[in-house]
């Protein structure tokens, strides 16, 4: 066996050009598959990333009942005990975003409108989604403020400007009536129409006072230091908190609907990737067939001087294995700088599309993913394809007609 291996190794370098051609076939196959998948995944990653930052956060701690019944009555008590528990994870938690929200009627002299009144901590909210940069007039909210920020669409509907006052009327904690007069401090443009037409921001303490829900939150968002470890962190927090009162939810559950819809796009991608593999397999196959035509004489010679066909097949398998492995590894290495380059210099978009993306608060580019998983999985798939393609030489060896081939 060792001798066969040595023979295979020497065969590879006896005809260096041919080997390099075949290796490069595998190499480019891996390279293309990786670049393609990295491009596809990049879009999904960005979409999830922006949704996580704009709305849900990576982890939320909620009252056990809140997810099923998002009413302020099912808010959680932000107790010293909970704070202490979370402080135990301070090395893994980047920051915490507390929120309390409920629906209320916003009324001016002539207009009344249902709106979502969200109590926020301006500092951490800004860290999470750059809310302060969306300010288009007036001043941004400060912690402990008693004014409100209006979303742009709602401000237009209510005809409010910074400095005006308005009435908020709603349901507070445990059936109390929440009512108050508030000054408009500033106006923020939230870009997304559904949010822009109905959102009001208040300072956390202001909202807790308004809803009569002292020290209560509807959700406590936790942003981990390392988002890849979201699940471990969520599980650890869940273990340390009382499951009778608190529920720890990760973004996959919070964004379940969006993820389901994304599967549709991904199904399309899967078909395209399959087609790419077909093209790759054919490219490899062409190279192999041509190589076999060229080597017929050599194989016939070896068989006629006494090498068993099975031994020859083993040699050819070793050759295949080495060529595939070298090709796949070289392909992975070659793709790293390419993917990094594309990640740093993503494809720029122009025209209407770019404008639409800017309007939604995105950078107008097509991002690439640098998830190591992409490299490994694509390399594996191409390795399998190339090993399958190389069945052909083995088949050929067993069928070879020596007398004809030698001519």
């Amino acid at each position: 066996m060792k001798m066969l291996f040595t023979l295979a190794w020497r065969n590879l370098w006896r005809n260096r050009k041919r080997t390099l051609i075949t290796i490069s076939s595998v190499l480019f196959a891996v390279l293309l598959a990786i670049v393609f998948i990295s491009f596809e995944n990049g879009s999904y990653e960005r979409m999830i990333d922006s949704m996580v930052k704009l709305s849900t956060g990576y982890i939320q701690v909620q009252d056990v009942l809140y997810e099923e019944e998002p009413s302020i009555d099912n808010s959680l008590l932000y107790s010293e005990e909970l704070k202490e528990t979370l402080a135990g994870f301070s090395d893994q938690i980047s920051y915490i975003v507390p929120r309390i929200q409920n629906f209320a009627l916003a009324a001016t002299e002539s207009q009344t409108r249902g709106s979502l009144v969200v109590g926020i901590d301006p500092m951490s909210e800004t860290k999470m989604n750059d809310l302060d940069r969306k300010l288009i007039s007036g001043e941004f909210l400060q912690a402990g403020d008693d004014g409100v920020l209006l979303a742009k669409g709602l401000a237009e509907i209510l005809k409010m400007h910074p400095g005006d006052t308005m009435i908020l009327l709603g349901q507070g904690f445990q059936g109390t009536t929440a009512a108050g007069r508030f000054a408009v401090k500033g106006i923020v443009d939230l870009k997304i129409p559904e949010m822009n037409n109905n959102t009001i921001y208040m300072s956390l303490s202001g909202a807790q006072w308004f809803y009569g829900a002292d020290n209560r939150l509807t959700s406590l968002i936790i942003m981990p230091v390392n988002p890849d470890k979201t699940h471990q962190l969520a599980a650890a927090i869940a273990k340390k908190t009382d499951p009778e009162w608190y529920k720890v939810i990760t973004w996959e559950n919070l964004l379940a609907d969006l993820l389901k819809l994304m599967k549709f796009d991904q199904a399309g991608t899967k078909i395209m990737v399959m087609i790419l593999y077909i093209v790759i397999a054919f490219g490899l196959f062409g190279t192999i067939i041509t190589m076999m035509i060229e080597r017929q004489r050599e194989f016939a010679m070896l068989i006629s001087i006494g090498l068993k066909r099975s031994q020859l097949a083993v040699i050819s398998f070793f050759e295949t294995l080495m060529i595939s492995l070298i090709g796949v590894i070289a392909g992975m290495i070659a793709s790293i700088p390419l993917v990094i380059w594309f990640r740093l210099h993503p494809i720029q978009l122009t025209g209407e599309m770019a404008q639409a993306m800017i309007d939604y608060g995105f950078e107008p580019v097509m991002p690439f993913s640098a998830d190591p998983q992409v490299f490994v999985s694509q390399a594996q798939i191409v390795l399998v394809i190339s090993l399958i393609t190389f069945i052909y030489p083995a088949y050929k060896i067993f069928r070879l007609n020596i007398t004809e081939a030698k001519q």
């Binding site: 196959a29 019944e69 009413s71 490899l284 190279t287 067939i289 041509t290 309007d359």
Partner: protein, 405 residues
């Protein structure tokens, strides 16, 4: 003479030639097929959004668009409606009364947009009746029925027959509350939208809001997409004080999505062409390598280098054209085939889509102009690819080549 030689060369070793022909064929087929799937996907998404959400054209009072207030009505809805129904380009249309307010069950209060609709017209325009997943469509037998989205129903914990209170401002600015009974639960592809829209009977809503008929929005579906602009311009000029908007203006995201798909398609095509190019390059290189003796012989008996170069290019041209033709035919056949049967995405992980009012079957289709672009690109790629091996062949030394075993 050279052409004849090249042609014979191809069929002297049919296996090798067939492999290359197949490679070109598969490459071209892949490009065309992928493009057709992408187009099919996009068309399906587009159709769903237009049908369920935006319609082709919407008509509003311009003040309504600014303030979202029910008082900004379309006064001449009767004459406008009559004209629209007589317009031959319009397939269906619906008139809606729109009120923003709050909806409350025993355990949750949230913001909502109440759509007062004529069930018959709405069904014809948006197919809302087909999106009802539980209970029944606004049939009009019960008193004050309301149709709400699945997500909202879950949140509010209401079932068919549950009572909900809807609170909003009437035309005189007074807050009014009214009781409705949930008759059905619907779901479309846009969950966020479902959460924010509830449907009631137009006459029920108008009774509470104003006492007379108020129309805030007209949504039109045209027979075909090309006539949308014409129809919009026609009604805009007839009713210049109203705002007539086409889907492009209503939802810039839709056209953005189309452009985005275009970019994606280009990238995919590029990757496939590259894969094809490298496959071909290696095959041709390998074949030049295999033919060293033969080429050396030709040189030795006096064929000059330019002719050898020409011969190899010519061979590639024949192979590419044959493969290209085959790929095109194969592509047309598969697209035609799948265009009628469709590809069910549920089998590759796109299941659970029916929950969203999406059809999981995609029907590939392709613009003929794109077809020819892909074909030309493929042939071009193959030809460019063959230049390098041909140059390699030129570098052969005849006396060495001929002695190679």
């Amino acid at each position: 003479m050279l052409i004849k030689l090249a042609w014979r060369n191809i069929w002297r070793n049919p296996r090798r030639s067939l492999v290359m022909i197949f490679a070109v064929m598969i490459g071209l087929w892949a490009g065309v097929f992928v493009a057709s799937i992408t187009t099919g996907l996009m068309e399906q998404r587009f159709r769903t959004s237009i049908q369920q959400q935006f319609s082709h054209i919407q008509i509003h009072n311009p003040d309504y668009l600014k303030e979202n207030n029910v008082v900004h009505r379309i006064d001449e809805w009767e004459s406008l409606g009559k004209e629209i129904s007589e317009n031959e380009n319009v397939k269906a249309f619906t008139m809606r009364t729109l009120v923003s307010g709050m909806i409350a069950s025993s355990n949750l209060t949230t913001g909502i947009k109440i759509n007062g609709i004529d069930p018959e017209m709405e069904a014809q325009t948006t197919g809302l009746n087909e999106n009802v997943i539980e209970g029944s469509y606004l049939a009009g037998e019960e008193k004050s029925p309301i149709l709400i989205g699945r997500k909202l129903a879950d949140k509010m914990k209401v079932r068919i027959g549950s009572r909900v209170v809807v609170t909003f401002q009437d035309t005189s600015g007074e807050l009014t509350s009214s009781l409705f009974r949930v008759c059905g639960i619907y779901q479309t592809s846009n969950t966020l939208n479902d959460e924010l829209n509830a449907y009631v009977l137009q006459q029920d809503l108008n009774e509470i809001v104003a006492g007379d008929m108020i129309i805030n929005q007209l949504a039109l579906i045209c027979h075909d997409l090309d006539s949308v602009n014409k129809v919009a311009l026609h009604f805009q000029s007839r009713y210049s004080h109203l705002t007539v908007r086409t889907w492009k203006e209503i939802s810039p995201e839709l056209s953005y999505m189309q452009e985005m798909t275009g970019v994606m398609m280009t990238v995919i095509l590029l990757v496939i062409l590259l894969a094809l190019a490298f496959g071909l390059l290696n095959t041709i290189l390998m074949s030049v390598y295999e033919r060293i003796r033969e080429l050396g012989m030709l040189m030795a008996i006096g064929m000059n280098k330019r002719r050898i170069f020409g011969m190899i290019l010519m061979e590639t041209l024949f192979i590419t054209l044959t493969g290209g033709l085959g790929g095109m035919l194969f592509g047309i056949v598969t697209i035609r085939l799948f265009h009628f049967t469709g590809i069910d995405f549920a089998t590759v992980g796109g299941d659970s889509l029916n929950d969203f009012g999406f059809d999981s079957v995609v029907y590939p289709s392709l613009d003929p102009s794109f077809f020819f672009t892909v074909t030309l690109l493929t042939i071009f790629t193959a030809l460019i690819t063959s230049i390098y091996p041909a140059i390699r062949a030129l570098r052969l030394n005849p006396s060495e080549a001929i002695r190679k075993d």
